[in-house]
């Protein structure tokens, strides 16, 4: 259908390509950008941890990130799949894992946690975006159960007070006793605990940043905090204590978990409603485990348990299309 009368401009012009619609995209948000956001938000708890734990933080951070990146690269090479550190997932996993470990974690435990996080938590499901469980929490749970000695309460405490908070027990292990730190210490982070969780204010600001950037869905932390505070209040009312709600919220890993661990988009539900249910579930489980289980803290288990339920939550929260469900076509 060529026509000789055409001016030569168009055919001799630029090389165009074909592609499906839509032809414009929101360039402000990419998965890499999301990962960067998470890292920026994690910077605050990291800095807080650096202030409290000093060099211990550095070793855990290097160990986790390094081991995670190397493992991911090796696994990708073994499967002959492209891999790039710039997708950020190995780094995010490594940082979250490091921030959830005790400062004294021996090198082999750190390494095993990172390797397990990447292999068992992510790569066997097909890599980024396909895992069911939060990789960092899988790694942590593995060493938690596997090396209780290196991960249990005594791993946090030392009698050698080079860093003064390290002589205290972690808040959740001394729940209800005299040793429980003041709220102010919990708020600013001047307490013992896993590296990243001590400072409530750092977790709050970092988390709010994520929510405002919409990298994290606000429904998840909202659900977690709501259900946790409701349960804590009920327990308060029955016990007569009054500040327990704040202690529950600021103590332990609840804030860190709610804002940084539970909000991992890969392992949380798709729809806003599902996300809120997911958050409620985590909050309730955390309180259940804190109050009743043999473990003083339950964020890790709660997240893993709810991760397992995500496919079912997704299934139960399929939104109805505007205008109602698709009618069954008669033939």
């Amino acid at each position: 259908m060529t026509d000789k009368t055409d001016k030569p401009t168009a055919p001799a012009g630029p090389v165009t390509h074909v592609a499906p619609s839509p032809h414009v995209g929101d360039r402000s948000m990419t998965t890499r950008r999301m990962m960067t956001d998470v890292l920026i938000a994690l910077a605050l708890p990291t800095i807080a941890a650096a202030i409290v734990f000093r060099q211990h933080l550095l070793w855990q951070l290097l160990g986790c990130v390094g081991a995670a990146a190397v493992t991911e690269a090796l696994f990708a090479a073994a499967r002959r799949k492209p891999w790039s550190i710039t997708d950020g997932s190995a780094v995010v996993t490594g940082v979250i894992l490091a921030l959830s470990l005790p400062w004294s974690c021996p090198w082999y435990v750190t390494g095993i946690a990172a390797v397990v996080a990447v292999v068992l938590g992510k790569m066997i499901f097909g890599g980024l975006g396909q895992n069911i469980f939060n990789p960092a929490m899988v790694g942590r749970a593995f060493v938690m159960i596997g090396f209780v000695g290196a991960m249990g309460a005594k791993a946090y405490v030392t009698s050698d007070p080079a860093i003064d908070v390290l002589t205290q027990a972690t808040p959740m292990t001394v729940w209800g006793s005299e040793e429980f730190p003041r709220l102010g210490a919990l708020f600013w982070g001047n307490t013992n605990g896993s590296l990243g969780e001590t400072s409530a204010i750092a977790c709050l600001i970092g988390g709010l940043f994520l929510c405002i950037r919409r990298t994290a869905a606000w429904q998840i932390p909202a659900g977690v905090l709501l259900s946790a505070s409701v349960i804590a209040s009920v327990v308060d009312l029955s016990s007569g204590e009054t500040m327990d709600v704040l202690k529950h919220l600021f103590g332990g890993a609840l804030l860190f978990g709610a804002f940084f661990i539970a909000t991992d988009p890969v392992t949380s539900p798709l729809t806003p409603k599902g996300k809120f249910i997911f958050g409620l579930g985590i909050g309730s489980l955390v309180m259940l485990l804190r109050l009743l289980s043999n473990y003083p803290e339950g964020v890790m288990f709660a997240v893993l348990l709810m991760n397992g339920l995500v496919p079912l939550i997704n299934r139960w929260t399929i939104p109805t299309p505007v205008g109602g469900p698709v009618p069954v076509r008669k033939t």
Partner: protein, 253 residues
Amino acid sequence: MELVSQLVLIAVSAAIINNFVLHYFVGICPFLGVSRRVDMAFGMGCAVTFVISVAALLSWLCTEYILRPGAPLTSWLTGNPEADLSILNYIVYIFVIASSVQLVEMYLRKFFPPLYKSFGVFLPLITTNCAILFACLEIMKHVSIGAGAGAWGGGGGEKWGLAAAMVLAIAGGVGFTIAIVIMAGIREDLDHCDVPKPLQGAGITLLVAGILALAFMGFSGVDSNLKKAISPQDPPAATATTPGDPTEGDPSP
């Protein structure tokens, strides 16, 4: 009240904390085989729960009246109050299970063909589902011998009545259903994931089960602490402590 709290504890323990599948490894075959689709898994869970209840009822009756040492029927027949037929335990249980499964299967095939069709080949598998025999054995342990027989303190040895046996069976079945439905949900999602080829199918299912078992370990102690919460005065505590006290446990996430 005592009975109610006992039943609650048995139920919570069997359904969640010491989940049949994830803690005792019973019922793994259907757990691997019938966990591809959520609806199918749920059906299987219901079938198991039903059969397990029937089997528990029958085996409790057999154990209580015939098999346990000093069972009334046996003693009366032999005139010996110590007569012990517990050697027949296993054979009787499996006999009961096999027949009742087969009966259910025939019944379903006749009267509910769609249900029968959707279970397909898995109904006969229930016969060989360890979960059911396991429930019977647990009941036997508590009925004929009594766990921790002869022990002092509140730590065990209570003989179970029919109610406890049934609660264990049903809760065990529910626990199985929970585990298999969660697994089916995950496996439906895994259909769209790029799982390494050697791990596809059973491999990844086992690994996911491993992670789930890890997660379920978080519940350890909920039963005994719940017991303390329900009846706080019961055993004298070695120290005045609250549940979340210093422990080998995990102080954070």
